[in-house]
Subunit: 488 residues, 2 copies
């Protein structure tokens, strides 16, 4: 409870030291992302069960606060003492995670209210998501929580992850290392959030700042999380997956304000009746008219994604790159087939493929055989014929990045460049041109792609395994810039 | 030369035995895919150089014919004797691969004409691809070849790969195992063909039947390769990447005829002016009006792909699955978020998401908790709550595949199924319903995805790492069926 009465604007940095320094973030839900202690109601000794996984995730992540497993039927779990009820926990409880069948939840919520718990993450499904009596159950839950001043995440969710605290309520076993980074992920659905989180952790290299699975959004909804993230220093950009929006006006206001400084990409289900029906039976969400939502995105300056990969491509670009200064792209490529395809896709997405400056062309021609025709897209093959393979890329890339006609650059690297050393020049180029976004598509051998991915993303250069995804990333920057150009 | 005068319709099976049995394939270019011997002009001892890689690829692949390296400046390469010229090779030469700078090519082509070589694969660029004198050089090359009766692949290409012979002229180092399979790949551009081939070999599990990189298409163009593939027993479906079509009428005729029995997907560059310009400077191709090409695709019953991944998704589906009997799809999913997104995408692609039969719903309900709502998409989570995790999938999938309202099925598997044993029931289901195409999207941990990918594709079930790609695959079947429904 104390956090809700703590001086406005504590920062996470000082949080565990106990000093409430005055920081920027005075969000009323901030404490949920970094609770000083957590009760897990429905603790289980069975590996794989939700009430067991949540506990082992907390330990694996290295959560530094107190963990209070609650279950009347056992004494000890994972070397921790188990409490028979929330009441039995000594001292204040800041956050309770409830992982019980739906019909047992309300009694525990009443216990929590008596105990003056600060907030609840309700994992259980069986509320508005199932309709009928579930709707009434959710209503009652909300009334109890509100009258006790408890904030609620869920029900029907995986809840929260904060790699900085570190803290999580995720019930899907965390296997990889959760890298702390700059991308926040707000997701309506627990399973989707949990599994997509696993995907990002294991398949991507960029780190996350906060994850919030909101489930049925009985209490805390997107707009409040956006408000919180606006002042979260760790968060640079936000991925949003929604089925239905709870309070359209508040959502639009928050998104419009937050996206000014922190780019937001949004994936929304229910753009067809088929998807809308499925969403309704899932989180009880009314997805609404898709054209209305499209208009909301435009007004709020949010980039709309068509599928989950587009969300990830957006996140990856914003994790590493600045917003571009303009829409003129240079393409540097080992394969002119890929170059021509890229030109088509960039142009269709609204980018310009400008003529290069005479100085740029001269610089490349000096290092090419006489027959070479130099234009944008730039073919690295002729340069490589004269200067060798890595040199072909270096010369072309140096030239186009120095070109005043170029705002951003796509590089298509072939896996005949097998060695880490072959691509190390890109670290310097990225530093020399921090204002010009760069995306790399590695074409060819999948194993070499994986190595280059690690090396280049280590330099802060986003790497993609498919041409369309690299272009998605660059287009995300462009779309954000265009949507927000007149708002700055 | 002998092959061109061999009895019409030899088959590859009897080829190496020397018996020309009368088979189905009487294509005049068939011998290029399985030459009895091959000269490599421009042989090199430097690892990584094209003239070295071609030779080592042939050895690595286990080519059984005679290899004649040609270079006047050396005696031996990779333990093979080197000939100073094509003339100096004893006996007939069936195919010569020419990997020399452009200005040296014509003299060698004249040598080959004198030697009465059967066919040429010309790797070298610097012909119509560079314009100017290159155009005349290509014209002269063609005249020499035609008057000597030599067929030409290229110039400006990686040429051919036939994993069955096995034979290749590819100059990109082949690293993985080249699996012989049922998908043919015709690509205009050498670099693209070569690198994409590497990608398919290393990232995918389905096998290839033939690869043809056609480059500038001075002589052999797409329509002749399509004619050849029509009667190639190994080929079940065809991926096509084109920049420009050489003879539109012949191309349309061949594609229209071949696609009746062998589905064709086509990716064409130059749908915008930006891409068209790039293609022109690349293979000297006039890409033409994109709307005209779109009409050609429809008339020819070809599925048009928007990017390379869509070609691969098409290939993967046709490698494993039959054309669907109808357009009604069932979605079985661990995540209703993914289910709702899938419903949107399927519907937008023209599929129906039908109501399930009462018997199907009853069967699933019997194995679910009382509160469960059963409809399409089918949520496996409630079933798993009652019956355990792999059982949830098995029960749902068995029920929907037996449903007469369902023509195809998308399965979304979460990586909480960690074990090979968890998914082994799918092998039986695939056998019991061979007529109902199945695609699997594995959501979550990337490492578990990789294992499931190997296991399930081993059962002949295509597996995708992204939802949109799984749906691309299913839509490819649907689009092929719809385009060709009235032509059978």
């Amino acid at each position: 409870m104390f956090l809700k009465t703590a001086p406005i604007g504590y920062t996470s940095i000082d949080y565990y030291s106990g000093r409430y320094s005055v920081g920027q973030n005075n969000s009323p839900i901030g404490f949920l992302f970094e609770p000083r202690n957590v009760a897990v109601v429905g603790a289980s000794r069975t590996p794989g069960k939700i009430g067991n996984v949540i506990l082992s995730n907390l330990k694996k992540l290295g959560y530094k606060g107190s963990i209070y497993p609650v279950n009347p039927g056992m004494q000890e779990v994972l070397d921790m003492p188990v409490y028979p009820s929330v009441d039995a926990i000594p001292g204040d409880v800041e956050l309770a995670v409830i992982a019980l069948p739906a019909h047992l939840v309300l009694d525990v919520v009443r216990d929590c209210a008596r105990k003056r718990v600060g907030g609840l993450v309700i994992i259980s499904s069986g509320f508005s998501d199932v309709g009928g009596e579930g709707v009434w159950r959710q209503q009652e839950l909300l009334e109890i929580a509100r009258s006790a001043g408890m904030r609620v995440i869920g029900p029907n969710t995986t809840g929260l992850l904060n790699p900085y605290a570190p803290f999580t309520t995720t019930f899907d076993t965390i296997k990889g290392e959760v890298r702390a980074g700059s991308i926040a992920f707000i997701s309506q659905t627990g399973m989707f959030a949990g599994l997509m989180l696993q995907h990002i952790i294991t398949a991507e290299r960029f780190g996350l700042s906060k994850v919030a699975g909101l489930g049925n959004k009985a209490d805390v909804a997107d707009h409040e999380v956006l408000d919180y993230l606006e002042h979260d220093e760790a968060t640079k950009a936000i991925m949003l997956y929604v089925e239905g929006v709870k309070d359209g006006r508040k959502f639009l206001e928050a998104a419009r304000r937050v996206s000014r400084t922190k780019p937001i990409a949004v994936l929304k289900v229910g753009s067809t009746e088929a998807g809308a029906r499925a969403a309704l039976s899932h989180t009880g969400s009314i997805t609404g008219d898709d054209r209305v939502f499209d208009a909301v995105c435009r007004q709020a300056g949010m980039v709309r994604a068509g599928n989950f990969n587009e969300l990830v491509d957006f996140a990856k670009m914003f994790a590493y790159q600045p917003v571009s200064q303009g829409s003129r792209i240079a393409i540097v490529t080992i394969s002119m087939g890929a170059g021509a395809l890229a030109a088509d896709m960039c142009y269709q997405g609204g980018l310009e493929i400008p003529e290069l400056n005479p100085a740029t062309i001269r610089r490349i021609k000096e290092n090419s055989p006489g027959w070479a025709v130099v234009r944008n897209p730039v073919d690295t093959e002729p340069i490589a014929e004269k200067m060798g393979q890595p040199e072909g890329y270096r010369i072309a890339l140096e030239a186009v990045l120095a070109d005043g006609n170029v705002d951003m650059c796509l590089v298509v690297i072939g896996t005949m460049l097998t060695d880490e050393h072959d691509i190390s020049f890109m670290e310097r180029l990225k530093k020399e041109h921090p204002e010009k976004p760069l995306a790399v598509y590695v074409i060819g051998d999948d194993n070499i792609y994986r190595r280059h991915f690690q090396v280049l993303e280590g330099y802060g250069i986003p790497v993609f395994s498919a041409l369309d995804r690299a272009i998605n990333g660059l287009l995300a920057l462009h779309r954000y810039r265009r949507l927000n150009a007149d708002r700055k």
